[in-house]
Symmetry: C2
Subunit: 397 residues, 2 copies
């Protein structure tokens, strides 16, 4: 059977560039930059005053002058004033441009201003103090944010500060979430005693929304002809089909047959993991990818995070996410020869360690449990006993 | 001067219930539940078959029967079939209701089906296998998600499965983000050599968006009358005013005067921290809160995460977030008697420890740095030297 590692490798071999698009910079939040953001001028663009107070020449202080005539008052945004004589100063505000004839700012708290004069109280004044010098953060033309970075609020700020009203970002793949089966009824319906309501599609849609993807949702009834037509339509109109359920070999699962008829190549079927073992992954001749997750909700949730989001980040060109590790906080046993995804709560301890507490549900169909946990602990395939204090990779959701 | 701890306490004393609203369940993602989600029936609602195969009576197997006549085929969503004789079975699909007359499911892989008969190959069959029993996850009326929980994709799924098309959630406060100062020009404008573009408001707006808050944005020019009118309008029409800049005592900062004239009570001004020392917090007589952050972008970013988001979670009734700790990975010195917020990159190590690497910028005005870091390490006020290997609280952004 395909291992988790092999499955990941096979999926990551299917990367594709879905192109770029230009969006207003505020709408770029959460998207991936397809161009660098460059400094349009030095940052700061001028010697910027960082305290309200007076601007003087340091030499004047050195020469024993401690009372200065206020020649002008200069606010942030004002054209800079000038001092002509050593015993003159400019009353100046935070954010203002340091006048060329001054080099030091003394804050209000350290001077007394009376009758147009400022008297300096303190001794300990450093040349250049209370000034954020031009270009010290970045020089004009420097890269502020590189292509391939995820747009964060900090990057939104950088875009605004350099006047990038629009940003070139990676286009995301067009995704359709497909459920199937006549046992599923709509959320607003009362199911018969042997039916259940659709829920997986909503979960998947919500997770994708958290990752900046708007996906369409489709339900396919148990009818072989309709199934084939609908799957064909999706292969032609979407980049990725995310199926939840309908891929087992049961008599009424028409999806495997439709995929075969439509010549979708099966790259692997079944992964040595629980939950999620029946996971089917394939590729249409025109490049559409099919992630067919098992119907049980926890399995879909594991596979979505472990495989689809990993693929999504990679296909958008994001740097690979650094693995996160956590310490198992009690013994756990799992006998089948499958890589187990254990639902855990996480807590940071005083040693800076992430502690993982298993919250066991009633098997992989128990979705209620997921609302109380935060992550899956990935327990290695080749072992059956996992001891308190051992460290394993963790996948947060 | 107010300490960070005192400031937090004073802010958390200003909690208010902003009421509830009903939204379509999919739109509740990221909001806070104001009602519990209850199981409308047992979960699973019936003894649910978890493998494609045949349903039989375990007693029949015990009595040596290993060949069964297929009496009916039953898919998920079908009304359950019935076996009348011990040597009969139902061919049955994943998700189907277990017929009352059967108690065990044998998967396809372990039987051979030929000419309307199923012959069981394997010995090791357990009574009740491949069945997810009715009510084992939750009983009808059980709480699936409690009031006060943040709506996650898992909770969206629970809502769907119990038919909650709409959810009662906490209303979020109405927030306005205010910038001020004639030195700021719009993003699409070319600033003069002594002006800069607005950027703080966009950063704040993006952070709030990540936390599910839609905020309005307002810029106030340097004019005392206009300032007073605008601030008054905001106090009357919003629950929270988030100011960035304009609160120092500079000659052209009209905001402190406007707040005083409008009788906004100052709860504290200045916190023993860097960046963010000039932070001003107050409350209007009618309850509007004013978070007036210093104008420097990193200070605003620190205060927004450290104070406003902490307040927001608390006022919405979310459980207090557990602190996260990280290990400083190199020595660091900070002399002023202020609590320092050090920008760091984070990395999980093989011991499950979160390691924090300082990325020092050029003082608190250096925003470019924030795009390369992920968190602030909160270094205690009472110390000046911080050693590699020591653990401190970390605030992710």
């Amino acid at each position: 059977m395909t291992t988790v590692e092999q499955a990941e490798k096979l999926i990551l071999a299917q990367l594709k560039d879905y192109g770029n698009e230009t969006v207003p910079f505020e709408q770029a939040l959460g998207k991936v930059l397809a161009e660098p953001i460059l400094a349009d001028r030095d940052l700061p663009p001028f010697n910027r005053v960082t305290m309200d107070g007076i601007a003087v020449s340091y030499d004047a202080l050195q020469n024993g002058i401690n009372t200065f005539k206020i020649k002008a008052t200069q606010a942030a945004g004002d054209e800079p004033a000038t001092i002509d004589e050593p015993n003159e100063c400019i009353e100046i505000m935070t954010g203002a441009v340091l006048p060329a004839s001054a080099d030091t700012v003394i804050r209000y708290e350290d001077v007394e201003i009376r009758a147009g004069q400022a008297c300096v109280y303190v001794q300990d004044i450093k040349k250049g103090q209370n000034i954020h010098p031009r270009g010290i953060d970045k020089k004009q033309g420097d890269v502020l944010a590189a292509s391939g970075q995820m747009v964060t609020p900090a990057i939104i700020s950088l875009a605004a500060s350099v006047g990038k009203t629009h940003l070139l970002v990676k286009k995301t793949p067009r995704v359709v979430i497909i459920s199937s089966g006549d046992e599923l009824v709509d959320v607003d319906q009362i199911p018969s005693p042997y039916q259940i309501r659709k829920s997986n599609s909503y979960t998947v849609k919500a997770v994708l929304k958290q990752h900046g993807l708007q996906a369409d949702v489709l339900h396919i009834p148990d009818d072989p002809e309709v199934t084939k037509i609908q799957i064909q339509h999706c292969l032609q109109n979407y980049d990725v089909l995310l199926l939840s359920g309908g891929i087992s070999m049961g008599k009424f699962d028409y999806i495997p047959q439709a995929l075969e008829d439509l010549q979708v190549e099966n790259i692997f079927h079944k992964v040595a993991q629980r939950p999620g073992k029946p996971f089917w992954f394939g590729r249409d001749k025109d490049g559409a990818l099919v992630f067919a997750f098992p119907g049980n909700p926890v399995a879909t949730f594991v596979c979505l995070h472990r495989y689809f989001l990993t693929w999504l980040n990679a296909t958008l060109g994001l740097p690979q996410q650094l693995p996160v590790y956590a310490v198992l906080d009690k013994d756990f046993e799992f006998l089948p020869a499958l890589q187990y995804y254990l639902q855990v709560k996480l807590k940071s301890n005083q040693h800076g360690q992430l502690m993982a507490s298993p919250v066991e549900g009633n098997g992989s169909g128990d979705f209620a449990n997921l609302a109380d946990t935060e992550a899956f602990l990935e327990l290695p395939l080749e072992r059956n006993e996992f001891k308190k204090g051992e460290v394993f990779r963790v996948w947060k959701f």
